[in-house]
Amino acid sequence: MSTAPAIPVRRIPALSGKRPPVSVILTTIILGTALAWSLAPDLFSSYSGTVGLPGNQLKSPSALHWLGTDELGRDLLARIIHGARYSLSGAFVAVAVGLIAGSAIGLVAGAAGGRTDTWLMRLVDVLLSVPTLLLSLAIIMILGFGHVQAALAVGVTAIASFARLMRSEVLTLWRTDYVEAAFGSGATFLKVLVRHVLPNALTSVLALAALQFGAAILQISTLGFLGYGAPPPTPEWGLLIAEGRNYMMIAWWLTLFPGLAVILVVMAANHLGHTLERRKA
């Protein structure tokens, strides 16, 4: 398969400068908040994320319930806060699966070369040739419905990108003088890999991981929307939108706010990814 021609990109002055730009501050705040929510949701909301107050259903945003309540009288803000854990951990698992399996494939393919390379990369082609959404749907059907299952299914679809990136990194580095020098001085294959290749590939892989993190949140929420994600009453963000959409005509907040939460966190993760990418270049 083809690879994009490497085009040098000038170093972003902001990154080498003294004061971090607004976007970096915002990214940190957003990701930090989401992380804090997922670690200690009870610190941020006194309401339960799963049990509602009957008689209090479908109330619009107010001082009491900042983002309103849902059809069972549950506080929406509390549900979003408690849901951060599911959306973030799901994306984390997905990226971990893609990163570990994909990098392993890419590493072996790139380092071994020859027929192994051809076969492994054709395997990656098979993974790529089945549209990601269909592939993850089929995997979920096998694993069963659930939060972790959805994360694993999304992770499998991310394997291909990591495999390709790692392979191209290995191929580039394999031919550099210092790797050849390391071999010349008697280093073992494994040692060269761990000492020289992996650290150099790290930035690119981390950049891709950050981008995939955002993509995974979107994909998991899409699965939740189609009804293949975590079971209720889990407040996973995609599920919140999916459940809220039925009430769109009478309770717009149930769709709007979880959507904004997804957008903000994905945007922050993307920004982080691009910043890493530029730093590498």
Partner: protein
Amino acid sequence: MTSQDTVFTKNFAAAGLAVLLATTIAGSAIATETPKVGGTLTYLEQQPHTVLYPPAGGFYPNGGILNQITDKLTYQNPETLAIEPWIAESWEINADHTQFTFKIRPGVTFSDGTPLDAAAVAANFDAFGKGKGERKFPVSEVVNNYERSEVIDPLTVRFHFKKPSAGFLQGTSVIGSGLVSLSTLNRNFDELGDATLVIGSGPFVATKQVTGKELTLKARTDYNWAPKLLAHQGRPYLDEIRYVIVPEDGVRIGALLSGQADFVRQIQAYDEPQVTARGYQIYAPSTRGINNSVVFRPDNALVADKAVRQALLHATDTQEIVKTLFSDSYPVAKSIIASTALGFKDISAKLTHDPKKAAELLDQAGWKLDADGLRRKDGKLLELTAYESPPQPQNKATLQLISQQWGKVGVKFNVLAGDAGSRVQDSLDPQKTPVAPAMVGRADPDVIKSQYHYANRNVLLQTGGVSTKVESFRDETLNGLLEGIAAEVDPAKRLKLVEEVQNYVIDQAYAIPIFEEPQAFGGAPYLKGIRFEAVGRPSFYSAWLDR
């Protein structure tokens, strides 16, 4: 209950009828204005239809189409539930209900021009009663003990049964007994997903189908065989009906209220206020069958103890469920069957919400509260699981609310939303799903047998049924009562049995009835003359657009 009558009018005033007469169907406005002829009705359906073999008409999207394109031998008056003539002008039934003889109305034709005569009727019921292996046609749920047909003359047909079949006459009036042409019966089951291949004698004909998206029905202007007792005779008022599949609840309701559609199925209770506030109409015809319930699978050790089931019954607050999630269109259940169903008995005194009693029952049964607020016995947690049933209105929310209510007495209840394959398989395994949501609509006491008997839907999962996972549970008392309902030919005795079953199921706490399930539709203010058959499928024959 009318099955014993030799002619439909005789002998009809039976017990329980007064209740039924009192219940009218919302919105079946008697047309005092002169209907306008012409126009296209846009109908939004939630799910695409599947195979339109008439016995598959129990699936609502299928029934909604079959009801327009096919006619039935008999017509069940939706208000009185009496069986009236339609394609059959009259009928005779022998004393032990093993022979049914029908006189066919002359001059009826299928939309392909072939006659609807005794031979065609015989061919239909041969297929429905015995199935057709080579065409993959399954047997109809409403035709039991069928032996053979006999064409006596071109307009007279007789059906023979192996055993008394009291429910058959009503069975000829349901959507699942819609009459189709010989050419349709000679197609493969698989082909009948194409509505245009399903040739009936109904007031509308399917002319164009975009599978999974849209279906166009055109009026038959030569239609002249509506049920004789209807005020409206002759051609349907509408020219055309467009069925559009819109799975999204929000889009259906939005489209109706913004004037993009005229009639919409599955209006959720929470949308009702805004529909009526804008002058639109809610139609909520009762499905007259088994109430929306949750049932137990006593084969599972956790719910094998009657005391545990009774405790959960009393832990359930159906009032709260209906108040929180539903509306006036969804009456709180007073028995396992709807108050509009035949043989209904109000046993709401046995269905009280009483968490204290529930806790006592659980304590006595040995399930003690632990420090974490959950109940255990010999270290085993009282944890139950059910799959949500997507076709039932707000089932996910209903089960979640029940889960909250059971949680208050220390019982853990998980609600799963699985894929169709797992749901179907796990729902057959009492170990995996000790609890299940259940509901079915049909306006004959046979429906109770259909629901609970091991050889039919078998919701309690007894041995001998569809499930191979059941180890030992079987309740012969219940089965005996149910078989009695199916075989009993004396209507008074039959209703007595229906009453006994209701008491028995609740005394054993096999089911927790929640609400009487209507089919909720929304219609534009200018849409008139919508009718519903006995279990809530719309008929557009008399519908017209006042604009």
